[in-house]
Symmetry: C2
Subunit: 121 residues, 2 copies
């Protein structure tokens, strides 16, 4: 299996069935049987999918008599968003500055923006 947690999270969400489960769990907690109902697969297959989501830290399972309600954990999403936003911003910044094309124009690089007249401090 994937060694690092970020790989596990991305890998877990790479499956449309698992993403659909997440979507439904965002509305309300559900049991394995409830989750399996709309899909054309066996309950065991859904149980396996849940194990993948659980290993990724996306869901947790509690105990309610003989039922095992599945609960969505929101914190892990931030791990992804952080990674994505970092490179998205970097790539957009690079695009905005047109760094590749305008590298030969030193005036445009200007790491220190010109101070506005009358700005305090």
């Amino acid at each position: 299996m994937a060694a690092d947690s970020l790989s596990r999270v991305f890998s877990a969400l790479a499956d449309p069935t698992r993403r659909d489960m997440i979507a439904r769990l965002a509305v309300a907690d559900a049991t394995v049987n409830e989750l399996a109902e709309p899909y054309a697969v066996t309950v065991q297959a859904v149980s396996k999918h849940l194990k993948v989501l659980e290993d990724a830290g996306l869901v947790t399972r509690t105990r309610d008599a003989q039922r095992r309600p599945v609960h969505l954990e929101a914190e892990v999403f931030e791990l992804m968003t952080k990674w994505i936003e970092r490179y998205r911003r970097q790539a957009e910044e690079r695009y905005r500055r047109l760094d590749d094309v305008l590298r030969s124009m030193p005036d445009d690089v200007a790491p220190i923006p010109p101070p506005k007249t009358g700005e305090p401090s």
Copy 2:
């Protein structure tokens, strides 16, 4: 392969080597050989990784003489962020309201917020 684009994107980012490539491409465009250099795999393996990233729409390849520089595309990231943020917000909202526990307290649900006095229209 994965049918839908979101699956392709998540699947592409589920590999640490591919994520590292993205990180390096966020700094500057690079050729297959340049990208392959730090890894202990063949150039062909890296070329395959790039095909996965390309199929997911995360990178594009242009032509510069006999080189094929790889360029990071930022737009696709938004597809992911949108999906993630949607359910993260939903899950957090649900947690904030403690819906599961406090469902029996109607006062707390209040779907219509009290109008502020003197608000126009």
